[in-house]
């Protein structure tokens, strides 16, 4: 096998892994949403879908409902309004899903993997401006909503698309500004570098290397600001003014069948992206405390040597665990808080999140001058 073919094949490992994980998480989130909300509200949740096998009804905790949903949506009437812009109308859900899927590409899910004499970065795309790429993809996702709202030839859809655009702008500004503090602390826009930086000890002169410098410890204010703005950019409750399924209806009011399902899917994909981004920037990414490339190195002096594959496996497992915990938290928030009114969401974005993010940048700069980098 030639070197180039091997390189391509090996690079397919992280790309395929990211696609597999993100798509499956996105699909499973419909189940997680139903079940978690049910458990929070003392209910059972969707559990009626079954496959008859030898007279038994196989239900697997309601896990068949996403499958049943897919079958239902694919077999429903795919309706296009007569006055709609046909091309834009059909393109919009694909744009929405595409950017949701693409956004995960630069989020690292592990350190380097050494295999067959080569080093692979465990992220789909190694990019020096990884953070800007994710921000760009999240921002571009809103074009799908605007296209949907405009192409539907429906005033309610148009208003929904307009609300989506306004919400996205106010959220994007806050996301970008809140991340700047993290970039300043770790000195890089490359998410892999940021994840590596979070493995270093925090303030070793005071804490003696016992505490890793995770983003949530170095940038606690940015964590809350980013999480709030990130939830807003997923346009789910409490920031679901673009959709408002039950009463104000939104940009997808004219959509049916799988096209509607794709918009719902895009929301879930963005939830996964925000969870992955929060993990990579604030929860130490793939870092396991005290785990280094050679194995565990404890601050009290003990060491446990581990083979390379075990270390990589633990890192990937740690990343996935953190993402799952973040998704759980996002779902908890989604099923706890009521919706912000449109003007409240705007006020929160422009008059609270954005100025506080700027303030965070200022304070971070002063602290960095006083203490120095971790």
């Amino acid at each position: 096998m030639s070197g180039l073919a091997l390189d391509l094949l090996l690079q397919a490992i992280p790309v395929g892994f990211v696609m597999f994980v993100v798509l499956n998480f996105g699909g499973l989130l419909t189940w997680v949403e139903r079940k978690q909300s049910a458990i929070m509200q003392d209910r059972i949740g969707a559990n009626r879908a079954f496959i008859p096998v030898l007279g038994f009804r196989i239900r697997i905790l309601g896990l068949l409902h996403p499958l049943a949903d897919a079958v239902k949506m694919l077999t429903k009437e795919d309706f296009t309004p007569a006055r709609a812009d046909k091309l834009m109308f059909k393109l919009a859900p694909f744009v929405s899903v595409f950017f949701g899927l693409a956004a995960f590409a630069t989020i690292p899910f592990g350190d380097t993997l050494q295999i067959m004499g080569r080093e692979i970065q465990l992220q789909a795309v190694t990019l020096n401006v990884g953070i800007l790429y994710v921000l760009g993809m999240i921002s571009l996702g809103v074009y799908g909503l605007m296209m949907a709202g405009w192409a539907s030839a429906n005033n309610y859809a148009l208003l929904g698309g307009q609300r989506a655009a306004a919400l996205m702008i106010s959220a994007e500004v806050a996301i970008g500004a809140s991340i700047m503090g993290v970039v300043m602390v770790y000195g890089s826009l490359n998410m892999q570098d940021i994840a590596r930086g979070q493995g270093l000890p925090l303030l070793p002169q005071f804490l003696g290397g016992w505490v890793p410098a995770w983003g949530i410890l170095t940038q606690p204010a940015a964590f809350i600001l980013f999480l709030t703005a990130g939830i807003a950019s997923t346009k789910r409750i409490p920031f679901d003014t673009p959709e408002g399924e039950s009463e104000i209806i939104g940009y997808f009011v004219e959509y049916s069948g799988m096209k509607f399902g794709m918009f719902a899917m895009a929301d879930f994909l963005e939830t996964v992206v925000i969870a992955g981004m929060t993990t990579a920037l604030f929860l130490g990414g793939w870092q396991v405390p005290y785990l280094q490339a050679s194995g565990f190195v404890f601050p009290w002096g003990g060491t446990v040597a581990l083979p390379h594959l075990a270390v990589v496996g633990m890192q990937v497992g740690a990343f996935l665990t953190k993402v799952v915990v973040m998704i759980w938290l996002l779902m908890l928030i989604r099923w706890t808080l009521p919706r912000f009114r449109y003007d409240q969401a705007m006020r929160l974005g422009w008059l609270a999140l954005f100025p506080l993010s700027i303030l965070n940048i200022l304070v971070t700069g002063l602290v960095l001058l006083a203490v120095g980098k971790p």
Binding site: Q36, A38, I39, M40, Q41, D42, R43, I44, I224, L332, I333, W335, T336, L337
Partner: protein
């Protein structure tokens, strides 16, 4: 403060005037999240006990999965009527028309005929109840001097595609049995002719 009302309770959570803590929002959000998370973990613990450790009394949800399980009904529940049978299977009803007379919805229709036994004066030839009209007041049960009509079958699921099928006839009502313990019906739900597979 456009929404300020004059008689707000003393509890600040019920006041529309927000204090600093409410306006800061983050703490209140955390309080709310703690409440829902508490429910989540408590219910997950109960589900785990139920499924993994087979503690059947531990229930993580208040859901009653209706077609599979029914909530225990009150013994006083007025459900689908039935005509009480004599030991030979004929109706205990003597066609005195009391129930038909007292019925506020005029949903009972009785045609009387002679009973072969000379000790029994009459017997209904027809006894129709139009359940589309019935208001389930139970007056027919109270009016009956022979204890011949009761509303204790526990059956609540009767439906039809047309009004005529809501009329339950004597044979259907005679075939019903009283509900068992917990109000679970012992007779199958009578299926209207319009719903029977052709």
């Amino acid at each position: 403060m456009a929404y300020q009302t004059t008689n707000t309770p003393a509890d600040p959570r019920h006041s529309s005037r927000l204090g600093l803590r409410q306006r800061f929002y983050v703490i209140e959000v955390l309080v709310g999240l703690a409440l829902t998370a508490k429910h989540f973990f408590a219910n997950m613990g109960r589900h785990t006990l139920h499924v993994v450790f087979r503690v059947k009394s531990s229930r993580g949800a208040v859901t009653i999965q209706y077609p599979d399980e029914r909530r225990p009904y009150s013994p006083r529940l007025r459900s689908l009527h039935r005509l009480v049978r004599r030991e030979d299977g004929s109706p205990r009803c003597v066609a005195c028309m009391m129930c038909e007379t007292v019925c506020p919805a005029h949903c009972i229709y009785i045609v009387a005929t002679e009973h072969p036994n000379p000790e029994i004066e009459k017997v209904p030839e027809r006894f129709d109840i139009d359940l589309g009209k019935c208001v389930f007041c139970g007056y027919c049960v109270e009016a009956c001097p022979e204890d011949a009509i009761r509303m204790d079958t526990g059956i609540l699921e009767f439906s039809a595609y047309d009004r005529q099928s809501m009329v339950y006839t004597k044979d259907t009502l005679l075939a019903l049995d009283p509900a068992g313990p917990n109000g679970v019906p012992t007779s199958p739900v009578p299926i209207a002719p319009s719903r029977r597979p052709r």
